[in-house]
Subunit: 599 residues, 2 copies
C-alpha cells in the first residue's frame, strides 16, 4: 500500500515537502540506495558498509581494473569519491580541484572546479595538503578548501552557488575535513592544532552562506554550546565553566581541540557525533589541567549545536592523541540488551564503545596489545576516576626537555584519520591500524599567531623487536577483543569498506588495494595501484555492475616525507624517519582506480 | 650443433670477446630476446615489432591491468620503459627521474635516480618537458637529461658511472631524445630548433665521457662530417660545401636542423639513420636557400660519423615540417626485387620509402589524403627537381606578415615523434597520425642566444568539415597506399607496437590503450588509463607471461595546453586552441600501466 501511494507522489511534490526536513529525508533515502555513495561514509551511521554483494568472497579474486583517472595533483589523497546517479565526484588535495566524471563514459570530465587558493596555506598544513572529501545534498556538492573556504558547487555545472570563509589561514587555520550535511545545514570542522587554533564546528545554512551556529571545543559555556545543567559527561551534568576551569588563565584561547575528523549522525536521536583533537601545545607542562574539551567526543543537537553529552578520552593529553577519529553508530545487543552504540577507535590506542543516547561508557580496551602509556580506563562508576585512563608514569611527557622513549602508540596513534568499517552481518569492526611507538621530548614554545606551536621533538619506529608498522584487524566492539589481525609492513593509512559480499577492502601505503574475507581476514585479492593508498575504499553500482573505487596518492602524515620531499627523520613531527622505507615501494601520485568483475 | 657449442661458452668468456664489437653483439643478441626490450624501439631496425604472441587477436579482449606505477611527475610522458631481465627501467619528463623496478615484486623500486637540474631549462623546452626514454648497454642505462647532460647509470645501483654536458641550456639547447648505443658508442641528439640552435649528433665512448665524433646538421663539410666526393644525395655526390652554399651568409650558424627524433641502425651495412629538424627561424623569408641539411635523412657510419648518403625531404621548409621522425628498416620485395628499405613518415605528410643502402628514393606518397601544401614529389630521375616536393603556391608562407590559411598538415605534421611500427607478417606499417591543418603567419624575428627564434603565429584545427583530428592507419610502404584507417577524435600522439599475435597497440590522447587487428584495424580492446597517452606501447615476457606496458601522462606538443596550463589558442605554437577539448577527457598524470591476460 505504501508503494502504491508513493507512486503518485511526483518529484516536484517531494521537493515541496516541508522545508527543513527535506534535505535530510532525501539524503537518508539517497544514502539507502546501495548504487550511490552520497556522503563520506556512505550512510549517516559511518559504518562504511555497502549492501552490494555482486562482488563476494567467491569471485573477488577475479577482480580487475575497469577504468582509471589521474587527478593531475600529487601528494596525499585522503577521502573517497562520491557517486550520485551517473556522476562521480572526485576531489584532490590542495589546490582542492573537484571533478564531475561521467560514469557512462569511462570517467569523461563533465566539469572541473579549480579554486584559486593562496599557496601560503601549504606550510600551515601540518600533515600534508590533504582533503578528506566532499558531501552532496540537494543538487549541490560541498567542499572544505584548504584555505577554510566552504564552497557549495552546483552538482550539474560545477559553478559556485555560494562560498564562505570558515577561518583565517593567517592564524594557522586550515580546512582538511569533509563537510557533513544534516537537514538544511552544512557542518564543517577546522584544522590547526599545531598552530594554537581554538577550533570549532560550524553549521551553515545549506541554501546560502549564513552561519547558524558555531561550537568551539574550548571556552565559555555559551561558546562551546554546552548547557551546564543538561549536558552530561558520563551521566552527570558537566556544570558551569566545564571547559575554562580546566585551563590555566586564558590558555583555552589557543587551546586546539581541532575538528578535522569525521562526523556521524543519528536521525532518530537527532544527534551529531564528532571528536576534538589535541590541546595546544604538545608540551603538556605548559598547559596544566584537563584541557577540556580537547580529546572529546561530542554528541550535539544539529539544529542548535547544543551538546547532549561529552566524553573526554585523554584528559591533559601528553602525546598528541587527537580524538577526531570516526564515530561508528551501530545497534547491537550487549549482555542481552539491545543498545544504540557508538564505537570509536581513538588515537590513544583504546577502542571505546559507548551508549550513543546517553554517553555511557561500556567498553574501553586496547586494540593494539602494545599500547603502554595507560594500564586502562577506570570502569568503576563509583570511582572518582571513572572513565579516566590510568597513565603509566614512565610514559608521561610532563617533564620538559626530557626525552621519553618507547611510548606506544606514537603520536600518530594506533589509528589516525583512516576510518574503520562495520559489517552488521559479522558484527565486527574492520580497523586499519598503526603499530608504531615513539620517543617524545617536549620543550617550551611561545605562541605566535600563524606560527607552529608544537613544542615537542619526536622519533617514531615499530615496537621493539618487530618490523611491521601496521595491522589490519577485526574488532568486536561489544567485548573489546581483537578477533583477527593481519600484519602489514606499513601502517594501514587507508579507510576500510565492508560489504554484504562478505569482503572487506582496504589499501596500503605501498599502494595495494586488498580484499580480505570478513570472517577470517584471509587475503582474497590484491592489486598494486599507481601510488600509496591513504584514501578510503568505496563501492557503487552502475548499469547493473558493482564497482569498487579508491584514490591512490601517497602522503598524509605517515607519507609526508615522500609527499613533501623531507629527509630529516624528526621532520613531519617524527614520521619521516619511521616511514623512510616507503620510498622503496611507491612514488607520488594522484589516481583513481575503479575495479569490477570481468564481463 | 650450434646450441651444443654455445653451452660451453661461459658468461665470462662472452664478456672477454674482442673489445669494440662486444656491446654491439651483446645488444643485438639481447634485442633478439623477445622477453626483453633493451632499446627504445626494441630492435635496431626500429620496427617496434615483438615476436611475442601469447596475447593474440583471439584473447586480447580479455586483457586486464596487472600492475601500475606512478612516476610522481606530471606533464607529458613520451617514450617507453626498458625491460632487461627482471628489471624495468622507467624514465620521466623533467626532472628526468629514472626508476629501476623489480618485475618479481609488482614494480618494487630497486633504485631511483633523481638528477638535480636547473629548472630554467623548462622555458626553453618548446613542446613540453618531455623525454623520450633510455637506452641500455653493457650494464649501464643511458639518459639524455633536459639540461643536455648525457648520463651513464650503473644498471644495478643507479649510481652515476659518468656524465657529460652535450650542450648549453643558456643558448636554448636542451635534451629530449633517447640516447642510442651502437657498438662501444652512445649517440645522442640535441633539441632547440625554436631557439636557433645549430644542432648535431654526437657519439661518446660508452666506457667514459669521451666525445668520439660530432656531426652538425649544417655548416662546413668537416663539421657536418660529409665527404663531398663520397657522400651522395639521391645517388650523386653532394659536392663541396653542400650545406653552407644553401644558406645566406652565416645563417647556418643558427640554422636549427635539430636531432631530437629517433635513430635506427643496420649492423650489416654499418649505417645509422636519423633525421634533422626545421631550419631556424620559422619565418622562411629570413633564410633564403634550401637550408641544407635541415629536414634531412642522414645515413652515417657510426664509427666515424661520416655520412654515406643524405636526402632532404623539405628543402627550404616553410611550415616547420621537421624531418626527425623515425626511420623503420625493413627487407621487402619491390617489383620482384628484394631490397633493404627505409620507411619514414615525415611531418610534411609524405610517407617515404628509400633504399637504405644507397638512399635511392622509391616511394613518396601522402599518408593523409588532406595534405595540400605539395602536389607530390618529382620522381623523374632525369628531372632537375628529382626528389623535390612541388610546393603549391597558395600554401607557401614566404611572404612575411601574410596569414596563410588552411595549410594541411599543420606544423605538428601528419605525424610527429610518435613512432610507427611494422609487422613483417602483414608487411604493413601502423602509423599514429595527426589530421590537423593550420593558419601560418610568419613575421620578422631577431636572433638572441637563448631566446625563442620562431617568427610565426599559428592556429590549428581539423580539416574543414571534419571533426576527427587523428587517424590510426595501416600503410603499405611498397606501394605508398593506406590499407585501412581508423579515425580518432584527437591526434594519435602515442607510439605503436606490432606483435606476432596479430595485434597492434596504440594509445590515445584521451588516455585509452587500444588494441586492433593488424589485418583489418578492427578494435579488439580498449582501456582508459589514468591520463592521456603520448608514450610508446611496449611488450615483454616475464615468468612465462606476456605483458604490455605504456606510460600515461598527457602533454607533449599536442597536450602542452593541459601540461603547462596555457589557454591562449595561439600558445604552444598553435596547438593550445586545437586541442582545448582534451581537458574534457583527461587530466595531467604520470603513470605506467602494465597489462596481461587473466591467470
Amino acid at each position: 500500500m505504501r508503494y502504491l501511494s508513493l507512486r503518485f507522489i511526483t518529484v516536484g511534490a517531494i521537493a515541496a515537502l516541508a522545508g527543513s526536513a527535506y534535505a535530510n529525508d532525501q539524503l537518508i533515502k539517497m544514502s539507502q540506495n546501495p548504487n550511490d555513495w552520497v556522503m563520506p561514509a556512505r550512510t549517516y551511521d559511518a559504518q562504511r558498509y555497502s549492501p552490494l554483494k555482486q562482488i563476494n568472497t567467491g569471485n573477488v579474486g577475479k577482480l580487475q581494473v575497469a577504468w582509471t583517472f589521474s587527478t593531475g595533483v600529487l601528494r596525499g589523497h585522503e577521502g573517497a569519491p562520491l557517486v550520485v546517479g551517473n556522476v562521480m565526484y572526485v576531489h584532490t588535495p590542495f589546490p582542492n580541484n573537484v571533478f564531475a566524471l561521467d560514469l557512462d563514459h569511462d570517467g569523461k570530465i563533465l566539469w572541473k572546479y579549480e579554486p584559486k587558493q593562496d599557496p601560503n596555506v601549504i606550510p600551515i598544513m601540518c600533515c600534508d595538503t590533504v582533503n578528506r572529501g566532499l558531501s552532496y545534498a540537494d543538487g549541490k556538492v560541498f567542499l572544505n578548501q584548504a584555505d577554510t573556504t566552504l564552497v557549495a558547487l552546483d552538482a550539474k555545472t560545477g559553478k559556485v552557488a555560494w562560498s564562505v570563509k570558515n577561518g583565517d589561514a593567517s592564524k594557522g587555520q586550515s580546512g582538511t575535513s569533509a563537510p557533513f550535511v544534516i537537514k538544511d545545514k552544512v557542518l564543517v570542522g577546522i584544522s590547526g592544532g599545531e598552530f594554537g587554533v581554538r577550533c570549532h564546528v560550524t553549521a551553515y545554512d545549506m541554501k546560502d552562506d549564513k552561519q547558524v551556529w558555531r561550537a568551539y571545543s574550548e571556552g565559555p559555556d555559551d561558546e562551546i554550546l554546552i548547557d551546564p545543567e543538561k549536558t552530561t559527561d558520563l551521566g552527570k551534568p558537566v556544570g558551569k565553566d566545564s571547559s575554562i576551569r580546566t585551563w590555566e588563565g586564558d590558555q583555552w584561547k589557543i587551546g586546539g581541540g581541532c575538528t578535522w575528523g569525521w562526523m556521524a549522525y543519528d536521525p532518530q536521536l537527532n544527534l551529531v557525533y564528532y571528536g576534538s583533537g589535541n590541546p595546544s601545545t604538545w608540551n603538556p607542562s605548559q598547559r596544566p589541567g584537563d584541557n577540556r574539551w580537547s580529546m572529546t567526543i561530542f554528541a550535539r543537537n544539529p539544529d542548535t549545536g547544543i551538546a547532549k553529552w561529552v566524553y573526554q578520552m585523554t584528559p591533559h593529553d601528553q602525546w598528541d592523541y587527537d580524538g577526531v577519529n570516526e564515530m561508528i553508530l551501530t545497534d547491537q545487543s550487549i549482555n542481552g540488551r539491545e543498545r544504540k552504540l557508538l564505537t570509536h577507535f581513538d588515537r590513544n590506542g583504546l577502542g571505546y564503545t559507548l551508549d550513543r543516547e546517553t554517553g555511557e561508557l561500556l567498553v574501553a580496551d586496547k586494540y593494539d596489545p602494545k599500547v603502554n602509556w595507560t594500564t586502562g580506563v577506570d570502569m568503576n562508576k563509583n570511582s572518582p576516576n571513572y572513565g579516566r585512563p590510568a597513565v603509566v608514569a614512565r610514559y608521561s611527557t610532563e617533564k620538559p626537555d626530557v626525552n621519553v622513549a618507547d611510548i606506544c602508540p606514537a603520536a600518530i596513534g594506533s589509528k589516525d584519520q583512516q576510518p574503520a568499517a562495520y559489517s552488521p552481518e559479522t558484527q565486527l569492526f574492520y580497523v586499519p591500524t598503526n603499530h608504531v611507538c615513539m620517543d617524545y621530548e617536549p620543550f617550551k614554545v611561545n605562541y605566535t599567531a600563524g606560527q607552529p606551536y608544537v613544542g615537542a621533538t619526536l622519533s617514531m619506529y615499530p615496537p621493539k623487536g618487530e618490523t611491521n608498522m601496521g595491522n589490519f584487524i577485526a574488532w568486536d566492539g561489544k567485548t573489546g577483543k581483537i578477533v583477527w589481525s593481519d600484519p602489514e609492513q606499513f601502517s594501514v593509512w587507508a579507510g576500510t569498506l565492508a560489504t554484504a559480499g562478505g569482503v572487506v577492502f582496504y589499501g596500503t601505503l605501498e599502494g595495494y588495494l586488498k580484499a580480505v574475507d570478513a570472517k577470517t581476514g584471509k587475503e582474497l585479492y590484491k592489486f598494486k595501484t599507481p601510488s600509496g593508498i591513504i584514501g578510503n575504499v568505496m563501492t557503487y553500482e552502475h548499469g547493473g555492475k558493482q564497482y569498487v573505487a579508491v584514490l591512490s596518492g601517497v602522503g598524509g602524515w605517515a607519507g609526508i616525507g615522500l609527499a613533501a620531499g623531507l629527509t630529516d627523520p624528526h621532520a613531519g613531527l617524527g614520521t619521516v624517519g619511521a616511514y623512510a622505507a616507503l620510498s622503496n615501494y611507491t612514488s607520488l601520485g594522484g589516481q583513481l582506480t575503479v575495479f569490477a568483475l570481468p564481463q
